[in-house]
């Protein structure tokens, strides 16, 4: 066992991540420079447990980006992801007064990226009771403050069960929903009609039927709405292909705790899964083979993961209140940021360019660069120093002193044990 841990954080490419936590805070984490170290830049909102963020969705276009956040008290906020300014806050209860927001939380939220005008946006929300809502939200500019909800369409996607996950595909015409007691089903958003439902896998050889309980779902590719992967509460990952059959094409187990987060890679066949005890792995879904696990002292349940569209980086966050950035190819931890609260969601702002900020905040970046320069030098030095010190130790009595102190501490330990 090594005596000390030097947390090897090689640093990550310039990126910007937004995390959402159980106290309703939004924290912005940025890493600048080529091998920057990620750190918290901004914090928006005040801590309030009723504003716990349940779902978030970002449209990270170059001009006029938007971020939608669903909170526990039933409100959906549209926020500018660059400065945290709230553009509009819609209350779910206002639309549907019969249902109390306490037991009917929003579980899925999607901000449409296509066909978006500058003064309005479309939102899809899905509640745990099975109400899907397609909203057109108009927000006026700051001069005239008459933000309003345009036409909204509400329909029931299921009456029984408890919805837990939803996902909209790349073309934004189809959405898939799933939950506890609900098989995954695919909906056409234009017609608001269900086009496909999965069939539960057959009973096993002992005649035992495991109840359906989907916890996470994702489409495999942006341009293909037919294939999607789903994770279940009894630690199974399934691949569905609606053009093939209603039962899963591939199904495999991953560890012992429920799959809590699933995210896809751009290449269309790799998926990343995170489970309730903090294990993350990448899987080739064509064969169902495990490519490898991401090891990095991750001790709490993974709640959300996000893949950067360009860099080979994924971000994961969860109940251990760390935001972790991983290299996909080497499966190594690039950076970890402690964010103090139970994190529920993470999104990546892929239009963030570290260089743009360099001009604005010159001093900070220079410092960071200095650090990054200094780091490799240090690393080079350390082995040499060690050797030197070893040679020294052979001659000097320093070492004996060290050893003595070690023995002392050992004896102290034993004393403590005796005391107890």
């Amino acid at each position: 066992m090594p005596r000390t841990t030097t947390l090897e954080c090689p640093g990550c490419p310039p990126l910007r991540a937004l995390t959402f936590d159980s106290l309703g805070l939004i924290k912005v984490v940025e890493s600048r420079g080529n091998r920057g170290i990620a750190h918290v830049v901004e914090r928006w909102g005040s801590p309030d447990s009723t504003k716990c963020v349940l779902a978030a969705s970002i449209d990270d276009r170059k001009q006029d980006p938007l971020l939608a956040v669903a909170r526990k008290n039933g409100t959906v906020e549209v926020v500018n992801p660059l400065n945290g300014e709230t553009k509009i806050s819609i209350s779910n209860a206002g639309v549907d007064t019969e249902v109390q927001p306490e037991d009917d939380n929003i579980v899925g939220l999607h901000l449409f990226r296509k066909h978006r005008q500058s003064s309005s946006c479309n939102l899809l929300t899905c509640t745990s009771k099975g109400d899907a809502n397609l909203w057109c939200v108009k927000f006026a500019n700051s001069s005239s403050d008459n933000a309003s909800i345009g036409d909204s369409r509400t329909w029931k996607i299921g009456s029984s069960g408890h919805f837990l996950c939803s996902k909209v595909d790349g073309s934004e015409t189809y959405a898939v929903f799933g939950g506890k007691g609900i098989e995954v089903n695919l909906w056409d958003l234009e017609k608001c009609s269900k086009i496909w439902t999965a069939k539960p896998p057959p009973k096993n050889s002992l005649g035992i039927f495991t109840p359906t309980w989907f916890t996470s779902v994702t489409f495999l590719a942006d341009d293909d709405h037919r294939k999607f992967a789903a994770g279940t509460n009894n630690h199974q990952v399934r691949l569905y292909d609606i053009s093939a059959q209603r039962r899963p094409v591939i199904s495999f187990d991953f560890r012992e705790t429920p799959i809590k987060a699933i995210t896809e890679d751009r290449d269309g066949h790799t998926i990343y899964i995170g489970n309730g005890s903090g294990d993350i792995a990448s899987v080739d879904i064509r064969t169902g083979k495990l490519l490898g696990c991401f090891l990095g002292k991750c001790s709490g349940s993974i709640r959300s993961m996000a893949k950067h569209p360009e860099f080979p980086v994924i971000a994961s966050c969860g109940l251990d209140s760390y935001l972790r950035l991983w290299d996909v190819r080497t499966r190594q931890l690039l950076s970890a940021v402690f964010l103090k609260q139970h994190l529920t969601n993470v999104v990546l702002d892929c239009n963030f360019d570290g260089k743009e900020v360099v001009e604005v905040q010159n001093v900070k970046d220079v410092q960071i660069e200095d650090e990054t320069v200094a780091l490799p030098v240090k690393r080079k030095k350390t082995p040499k120093e060690k050797e030197r010190s070893k040679k020294k130790a052979a001659k000097d009595s320093e070492r004996s002193n060290k050893l003595r102190s070690k023995k002392k501490s050992r004896s102290l330990e034993s004393q403590i044990d005796d005391d107890s």
Partner: protein, 363 residues
């Protein structure tokens, strides 16, 4: 390692007592001649036991003398400094595993407003703010025998407002539901294995976390020498050394088991002391005694002054008497929500890859 140490030690002694020891000089000469010969001197390399032990004893004696000298010199320096009215040399602090702990960013800072907000929002805040009184259900695993029942009866005496329910053959999830309906605030499950209690499960009830502890070194009241019997007063609670966010959460979970208004008349104190991730549980009675008679006697013979008596009267000694069980807990996992072994989400689980250093602690 031991060999090297001894070798270095001898070198040191040689250097310090160069003039006195002829042996040391000889050794030095030998060392200069060649390193191969120096190695032969090491006691562990001598095969003859008699000779080896002889040399070893010599070395040990030298070391002892050295140490004594050092202490003497230190004391003398201190005395001299005091006589001259100077500041005595600073006392050296031994390096322990605790004070060389690895840097941990999760350690709570006292000026963190987010921390207070999180504390206010967590599951135990209603109990800790005395909005509702804790009510605890204690049950066991399915087969409870050996020291289990005795341990539970002692737990019942330690924790006020605790109720023991027989486990029967109920599922734990059903018991959780039952306890929720009866307004219990916590559930403790004592797990026994081979008739020895070996695990403790503390579940915060409406929706609080589930902590799974390993229980070890259990000593019951009757096995403690000169033990006291606790009164039924509400105990004071001492929670020591819970520094990180996880530690604070565990501490608050434990805090929520006890009523927040201790009765100081009872002079009963329950201590949970965290050291290197082990939580030590102790239960004491304390008393403040003024030991006037004894000191007055012993010093009165010598001086016979009234002043001395006055001082001794003011002197108050605290005495402890241990009562109740004594055990050690170690956190294995902290689960989000109530007990759910299959579908549960963990806030923290111990994984082997986290044990990278002896100086890394989680609580």
């Amino acid at each position: 390692m031991g060999v090297k140490k001894r070798k270095n030690e001898t070198e040191e002694t040689e250097r310090s007592e160069d003039g006195d020891f002829v042996d040391g000089r000889e050794k030095k000469k030998k060392k200069e001649v060649g390193e191969s010969k120096k190695k032969e001197i090491l006691p562990s390399m001598i095969k003859n036991k008699e000779k080896r032990s002889e040399i070893y004893a010599k070395l040990k004696h030298q070391k002892k003398v050295e140490k004594r000298k050092k202490i003497k010199a230190r004391d003398a320096a201190e005395k001299q400094a005091l006589e001259l009215g100077e500041e005595p040399p600073a006392k050296k602090v031994p390096r322990t595993i605790e004070n060389t702990r690895e840097f941990d960013e999760t350690v709570c800072m006292p000026d963190d407003e987010e921390l207070f907000a999180a504390n206010d929002a967590d599951e135990f805040s209603s109990i800790i703010r005395r909005e509702c009184a804790p009510k605890i259900l204690i049950t066991t695993c399915r087969f409870n025998s050996g020291r289990g029942p005795a341990f539970i009866s002692e737990l019942l005496s330690v924790i006020p407002n605790a109720h023991y329910y027989k486990r029967g053959t109920y599922d734990l999830k059903k018991i959780v539901e039952y306890a929720k309906n009866r307004d219990f605030t916590s559930l403790i499950v004592v797990h026994t294995n081979r008739r020895e209690p070996d695990a403790l499960l503390i579940i915060g009830l409406p929706d609080g976390p589930t902590a799974h502890f390993k229980l070890s070194r259990l000593v019951l009241r009757k096995d403690i020498k000169n033990h006291g019997n606790p009164t039924s007063h509400q105990p004071e609670l001492v929670l020591n050394n819970f520094t990180t966010r996880l530690g604070l959460r565990v501490a608050r979970l434990i805090q929520s088991l006890f009523p927040q208004d201790p009765n100081f008349r009872g002079r009963r104190v329950v201590t949970l002391h965290n050291q290197r991730d082990f939580i030590f549980f102790r239960h004491h009675r304390y008393i403040f005694e003024t030991k006037e008679t004894k000191q007055a006697d012993s010093k009165g013979k010598k001086l016979k002054d009234e002043k001395v008596e006055k001082i001794s009267q003011e002197k108050v000694l605290a005495r402890l008497q241990e009562c109740g069980p004594r055990f050690t807990l170690k956190l294995i996992s902290l689960q989000h929500g109530t007990f759910d072994s299959k579908g549960g989400e963990y806030e923290w689980v111990h994984k082997p890859e986290m044990d990278t250093s002896r100086r890394r602690f989680f609580l």
